[in-house]
């Protein structure tokens, strides 16, 4: 019964399947059959098969899959060099096909994890392919970073090898840590079960729920955590899909938040985590939403932006929030935040009129902040622990195309990146005094 509109068209095609099979695209009017503009890649079949048997089976085009059977054995080299080489042509062809269906292709979202073999290795291979084949299209990468207690022993190797690729070929990276997602899920459970102040939480407003979407009978263990990431991507693209008084497109995010090409890692936070069922939302609650966005426990990685240095910050607000609310909160929060000397007022703001399902308003904050550094230094430490002992190295080196230099270059790339953040922290980004202005002869 729905209408296929611009908002839907950003993520889906509308296909006429009445004649059976994949018919021509319908550009306006009623929804016939929605097909996701997506490519699903996995070197083992379990996960993809589950998706294709689940409630979203019609949304994913079976021709947009690339799978294999044996997996990548948690080995970046297998994913990147072996499967990359093997599947390159197939990948390019399918990408071209899906790009052709777009009127105007603005951006690729790559969603993967860093610690394994396929997402990490083949994923970063695809990143390279995208840069070669579609150099003008933005590459946004959502990467799940492994935690210290990750049960994949080689995850530091895989992550560092992948980091080099992200450093060099991604436009923007949104790092995510499972630990943070887990903490957020717990926080919500506590809130619901405590029944605090007798107020009840609106079920479909949880940032962990796939509100309004297809519901599975049983939720899988990672579903709640993954939904947070899904909501992140929804909020990120909301201004591109819906109207608002101050639009914020994806290319604007890259433009404003990436002052130097390699410093493109953005810490994200989503608020509110839930909406209470009370109808009236006084503006104090609205202000609370802004405060929460900067608190440590709302960030999607283990980081504390408030106590580190901001290079730039973006606030994308959705719903019934006006420019005066935005300004008031920026003025209020500014004094407690540290900005780099050449960007003292470095705020990028967006206002989208349409709130997420179940909420009256929401906020996505993206920070280019030196608080990402610990994530990287810990990764480097874990890598070095293994590398010094040459542990498991042979599994990588015997893959065609892998050499010791791949490792040394990768760790070097990561070290350089960490050094750039160190430099910023030390100098706060600039000289002691303002640079003198050009003198004009009167």
């Amino acid at each position: 019964n729905g209408i296929y509109d611009e908002a839907l068209s950003s993520f889906f095609r509308n296909v006429d399947t009445r004649g059976g099979g994949d018919g021509p695209g319908i550009y306006k009017g009623k929804i016939c059959s929605l097909k996701a503009r997506a490519l699903l890649i996995d070197m083992e079949e379990g996960v993809v098969n589950e998706i294709l048997q689940g409630p979203l089976r019609d949304v994913f085009d079976s021709k947009q899959l690339i799978t294999d059977v044996s997996g990548s054995g948690n080995n970046w080299a297998v994913g990147h060099k072996l499967y990359g080489y093997q599947y390159r042509e197939n990948i390019v062809e399918k990408l071209r096909k899906t790009a052709e269906h777009c009127d105007c292709l603005q951006c690729f979202f790559i969603i993967h994890s860093m610690g394994g073999g396929t997402g990490s290795g083949l994923g970063t291979f695809v990143l390279n392919v995208l840069e070669d084949e579609f150099p003008e299209v933005y590459r946004f990468v959502t990467s799940v970073y492994p935690s210290g207690e990750d049960d994949v022993i080689t995850s530091p190797y895989n992550s560092v090898l992948a980091m080099k690729e992200l450093n060099e070929h991604a436009d923007c990276v949104l790092p995510i840590e499972n630990e943070s997602l887990f903490d957020i899920v717990n926080k919500i459970h506590q809130m619901i079960s405590s029944g605090k102040l007798g107020s009840t939480v609106k079920q479909n407003s949880l940032v962990t729920s796939s509100a309004g979407g297809a519901r599975t009978v049983q939720e899988k263990p990672f579903d709640a955590m993954n939904n947070i990431v899904a909501n992140l991507l929804l909020n990120l693209t909301s201004s591109a899909r819906f109207e608002g008084s101050l639009n914020m497109d994806l290319n604007e995010i890259s433009m404003n938040l990436v002052p130097f090409p390699r410093l493109h890692y953005l810490v994200s936070s989503l608020t509110p985590l839930y909406t209470l069922a009370d109808v009236n939302v006084p503006s104090r609650r609205l202000d609370q939403m802004f405060s929460d966005a900067f608190s440590r426990d709302h960030q999607l990685i283990q980081a504390d932006p408030k106590h580190s240095l901001y290079l730039a910050c973006a606030l994308l607000v959705r719903g019934n929030v006006q420019v005066s609310d935005l300004r008031r909160n920026i003025e209020r929060l500014k004094p407690s935040l540290h900005f780099v000397s050449w960007n003292q007022e470095g705020w990028k703001t967006g206002l989208c009129s349409v709130p997420p399902v179940g909420h009256s308003h929401s906020l996505l904050a993206l920070a280019n902040n030196t608080c990402v550094k610990p994530t990287f230094t810990e990764l480097k430490d874990r890598f070095m622990k293994l590398y010094k002992k040459k542990a498991h190295l042979h599994h990588y080196l015997h893959i065609d195309g892998m050499e010791q230099s791949c490792f040394s270059e990768a760790i070097s790339s990561l070290s350089d990146l960490i050094e750039e953040y160190n430099e910023l922290d030390a100098t706060k980004g600039g000289p002691r005094t303002d640079p003198s202005r050009l003198q004009i002869a009167a």
Binding site: E6, Q106, S245, N251, E331, W342, N343, E345, I440
Partner: protein, 453 residues
């Protein structure tokens, strides 16, 4: 004579829509407070200036809508059509899908040349619809990518294609605490380029209008729509028909030309500021009465003390005594806060405008010494009240109004430039460091010129 409006980017289109709304609602209002004949004259002059009446039922705005993404233009077109009083020409629009990414270089070097022909064709068509073309009015923000970059490019094209027409750029100065992180770069590039092709830049600062909305209009939860409506009201108070000469028999037919003639005697000085008095919520109007002497006194002090609105004016600031004659290049005898003018234009609308004493604005101590004070000051009037205000006065000033904001923007941009932050985003699209330096130099020159007035 007619004015063709070019609405550029999200800001330009949102404001443009409010401007035509304000103008239309003014001429349909019943609060003209003047004779029927006068009212009809006013309405006809306004319609000729801003609207085209073809065979359609409602007047069609003389405007070209340009944006690099489709959402805002669709909204603008449909909102206008829904008003029932006026609409845009559906064909007078150009949009793309991608947006400019807040990147001036993208707007100027990529979108500009790529779409020049199509956009200029639309402008040509609108120009041809005018019996007599009075000039162009472009509306844009400096902070983003389309209004700023593409806007600068289009202004250049307008100058090339219509070398003898007047071009007035309406420029929105963004909030100083950032809407866009690279706004200072975009602003510097925009202003320096506009200075070369435009006849004058009429500036509105978001910070100022925001204060007006909060303090004068009492708007608690302020939206961009509120801000834009105040801007539209101020613009309407300048551009609605007036008599430019004492005892004039017809409404002036050349508003842009007249504006340039009175306010821009020298091409180095193109920055115009706008003040409007009174400004208050509609529901307070009925309970307020105004006297011309009071309004004029406030407006003059707003000019002298560089006050942004009629509250919080610094009454201590006074013009220097003319006896102590030091050459004007040494501004040491001028009190620090005093706002020196090159030229001023006061526009009076409503009851008893014929009897208003504007002598205080002719005081030579307000002005630099180049122009005869008689030439430095002009007044336009009409007995026809504007937008429900029984009496209203607008001031368009070529003075040091914008010196501080300009200096701030250049300072911040320079600070960022020294660290080379974000430069790679511009060089990617063909704007190099030398281009930045050229722009900085040009604006430092403008700052210097206005400082030593």
């Amino acid at each position: 004579m007619s004015i063709v409006t070019v609405q550029l980017g999200q800001c330009g289109n949102q404001i443009g829509h409010e401007v035509f709304n304000a103008i239309c609602s003014d001429i349909h209002g019943t609060h003209g407070l003047c004779s029927k004949k006068e009212n009809e004259s006013y309405r006809d002059a306004c319609k000729e200036r801003f609207f085209c009446e073809e065979e359609s039922e409602v007047p069609i705005a003389r405007a070209v809508l340009v944006d690099m993404e489709p959402k805002v233009i669709s909204q603008t077109l449909s909102m206008a059509a829904r008003s029932g009083y006026w609409k845009y020409d559906d064909r007078s629009r150009f949009c793309q899908k991608q947006g400019s990414g807040n990147n001036w270089a993208n707007g100027y070097s990529v979108h500009g040349p790529r779409h020049k022909e199509v956009i200029m064709n639309l402008v040509q068509k609108e120009a041809e619809k005018c019996d007599r073309l009075g000039g162009f009015f472009t509306i844009m923000s400096m902070a983003g990518g389309t209004g700023s970059g593409l806007g600068a490019f289009v202004t250049q094209c307008l100058r090339d294609a219509f070398p003898t027409s007047f071009i007035l750029n309406h420029v929105i100065w963004p909030y100083s605490t950032g809407e866009v992180i690279v706004q200072n770069y975009n602003s510097v590039l925009t202003l320096s380029h506009l200075y070369q092709s435009s006849d004058a830049l009429l500036v509105h600062e978001n910070d100022v209008i925001h204060k007006i909305c909060a303090q004068l209009m009492n708007i608690k939860q302020m939206s961009f729509r509120d801000v834009n409506q105040v801007i539209a009201h101020q613009l309407g108070s300048v551009f609605q028909p007036t008599y430019t000469a004492e005892g004039g028999l017809h409404y002036s037919r050349n508003p842009l030309g007249d504006l340039m003639e009175t306010l821009v005697p020298h091409p180095e000085f193109k920055m115009l500021g706008l003040r409007n008095i009174p400004q208050m919520p509609e529901n307070s109007l009925a309970y307020s009465t105004f006297s011309w002497p009071g309004l004029i006194k406030h407006l003059r002090q707003m000019l002298i003390a560089n006050a942004k609105m009629e509250e919080g004016i610094d009454w201590q600031v006074q013009p220097p005594r003319l006896g102590s004659s030091l050459p004007s290049s040494h501004s040491t005898n001028r009190p620090l806060h005093f706002n020196t003018s090159i030229a001023n234009l006061v526009i009076l609308r409503g009851k008893d405008t014929h009897s208003v004493d504007l002598g205080s604005f002719r005081d030579p101590s307000l002005y630099t010494s180049w122009l005869n004070p008689r030439d430095a000051f002009n007044a336009w009037k009409t007995p026809r009240a504007f937008n429900k205000y029984e009496k209203s006065a607008a001031l368009v000033s070529n003075s040091q109004f914008l010196l501080k904001p300009l200096d701030n923007v250049v300072g911040k941009a320079w600070n960022m430039f020294a660290s080379k932050a974000y430069i790679h985003q511009y060089t990617k699209f063909g704007i190099e460091e030398e281009d930045f330096l050229d722009s900085f130099t040009a604006l430092e020159q403008v700052i210097s010129s206005y400082t030593i007035l």
